[in-house]
Amino acid sequence: MGPGEIRESFRTWLTEHADELGPFRHEHLLDIAASFAREVPFQHLLHDAGWSRYGWPEAYGGLGGSPVLRGIIHDEVTAAGYVLPEAFSMLEVIAPMLLKYRPDLAATELPAALRGDAMWCQGFSEPDAGSDLASLRTRAFAEGDHYRIVGQKTWTSFGHLCSKVALLARTGEPDSGHRGVTMFWVDMDTPGLTVRPIMCANGREEVSEVFLDDVIVPADSIVGDVNGGWGVVMYLMQFERGNFAWQRQAVLHSRLDKALAAARSAPQELPPDAAATVGSTYLSLMALRARCRSTTRTLADGVELGPEISVDKVLLSSIEQQMNDCIRVLTWPSIEVDDDDEAITNRQLWWFSRITTIYGGAGEVQRDLIAQRLLGLPRGA
């Protein structure tokens, strides 16, 4: 089926299954484990009917077609008022890396992940290596047919719910910077690996610490080349700025739909500048969608992107916050004082949006990259 046909058929399917899909109109629970568990049946339904398999290669559990088809599914799920499963974000960011560097792993791992039966996380950041990721210290010692990994990761999204981690560790000398790191695909159940969730300011255990005490991994768990991990991370980052950003704009349009509906039912609570706020926010969202559509199309054509994707990242980060601020205005004073499910969800999402200018590449670093690599401005002293 072509894109137009898929869109139309999917809309029909969503309408026909509205009763069955009812529970999936509601937002994430504060208990993240329960929230993910509740989304699994939705993922199963979408998968088994084929919809979430479009745009993924047939050899790896998909139904083939361009990745742009996934974008259509994201648009339509959210436009129909359903909550896009959070696990989808993990697929968009991590799966392309496996497909490119370890298609054999993708063949064994992707089908289950596509169905919603397996989750993956990224083990990159460390307590002493956030923006300065190249200074990471988790070490992987080569010992014949295996590596022994020692160290600690932090800010690992959904870490305590995942079965696999894409782990970045140092295989070079301590001072080897970005040239001495390697990407490993590690089973979270491996002896010596422990996970500790971190409660975040939004009331959810969004991220985890991961401790590695002599974790033994087979040598063939390497993704890409030994000491080639930095390139793997850079490759992965394109999809965080591209495909993941597309998902986010789809979700943000839908959240605005819901907030506007709430505002129409209580117009007396709107401030005098509500129209300006809504309009200005919508404009930023439209700009992101326009940018993102172009980026995802380029990625789908197999073209790798350069420093221009930092523009996408800055646009995405700022609209996440601007939209949540707008939703707060439209639903006021719900986020401040209410305790119904909708208010709890909007409140935790408002809080979560505060971190969007930091995760995946802090805004300050993005601005450095834009200025120096895109605009060609000279580096500082």
Binding site: A275, T277, V278, G279, D368, L375
Partner: protein, 326 residues
């Protein structure tokens, strides 16, 4: 549809045309260059290129009339006389919140109050739009006066006067005028993008060369971050303009015009700041681009007005448009 090389050639020849043709002669010069064929072949990209170069060159011409008349002609089913941009000018709405018409009909008279762009003196006929439709009026029946002191090089004129309805026949419907407003907004948005492009490139050159504290001022992080944010705002404008040409509707035209106004005014302010004092001199070019950007933002809906309009429509009901469509 042209390929990239053909479009680049067209862009170069348009740039040359804009800088070498007196404003009043521009519509004829475009026709001589095969404008109608170019538009028939790849209208959106050609119009966008014309207006980007118009902005980059800080040209003042009837190019907007050409495009708006073209839109009226395209939207009008009957053989519409007097839509030749060589002899016809368009009366744009006066600067006024949320009004897109340039005339009203009262007691059997058409009362015109609007703006004419540079090169207006070529036009024997002007078109002014009331809520009833687009009226064709003998230009000599209207009073003209120069205006637009924020950017006098734009050579805007006010056009005003009262004409009996019999002498101001309707030649196109209000819907045709709305198409013209859409086309005009897209064109001005493209023009703003062109202005922004020049401001960014000349500023980057300047801050790379200019040294203080023994290093280029463009190497300071605060300067870099300001320019990075300006570039992001410009990109948002440029992408929105591409969307507007693809979608070809009022919604996306409003959005593009708003994002272009907002973005390029931010670019102007940032570029001005990082120039230090030199850009404040009359001799320096930058303030002229900033003036032009401000006036173009003011025409056919400021970014504030259009953002408000968009917000009002969203608050009014319906689901949020997912634009551009996938």
């Amino acid at each position: 549809m042209m390929d990239a090389d053909e479009l680049a050639l067209v862009r170069t020849s348009l740039r040359h045309l804009l800088t070498s043709t007196p404003p009043a002669r521009l519509p004829l010069a475009l026709l001589d260059q095969g404008w109608d064929d170019l538009v028939a072949d790849d209208g959106d990209r050609v119009i966008a290129a014309l207006f980007e170069e118009h902005g980059a060159a800080r040209a003042a011409s009837p190019a907007l009339d050409v495009v708006m008349l073209g839109a009226i002609a395209a939207a009008t089913s009957s053989e519409a006389a007097g839509l030749d941009a060589a002899t016809t000018a368009v009366v744009l709405p006066a600067l006024s919140r949320r009004r897109i018409t340039s005339a009203t009909v009262t007691n059997g008279n058409v009362v015109v109050q609007g703006l004419l762009t540079a090169g207006w003196e070529r036009a024997a006929t002007v078109l002014a739009a009331s809520p009833a439709g687009v009226h064709s009026i003998d230009g000599s029946r209207l009073d003209m006066a120069s205006t637009g002191a924020l950017d006098s090089s734009l050579t805007l004129q006010t056009a005003s006067g009262t004409v009996p309805l019999a002498a101001a026949p309707i030649v196109a419907g209000h819907d045709a005028w709305e198409r013209a407003i859409d086309a005009g907004r897209r064109a001005l948005a493209s023009e703003l993008v062109g202005i922004g492009r020049v401001m960014m490139s000349t500023t980057i050159e300047y801050i790379t060369a200019r040294k203080q504290y023994k290093r280029p001022i463009g190497s300071f992080q605060s300067v870099q971050h300001r320019m990075a944010e300006a570039h992001v705002a410009w990109c948002a404008a440029a992408d929105a303009v591409v969307t507007a040409y693809e979608e070809h509707d009022s919604w996306s035209a409003m959005a593009a015009k708003a994002l272009a106004g907002r973005g390029v005014l931010q670019v102007g302010a940032s570029c001005f700041q990082v120039h230090g004092a030199i850009a404040f001199t009359e001799e320096h070019e930058l303030h002229r681009y900033i003036q032009r950007a401000n006036m173009l933002d003011a025409l056919l809906g400021t970014y504030g007005d259009l953002a408000w309009e968009i917000g009002q429509q969203l608050l009014g009901g319906g689901s949020v448009p997912r634009i551009p469509r996938l």
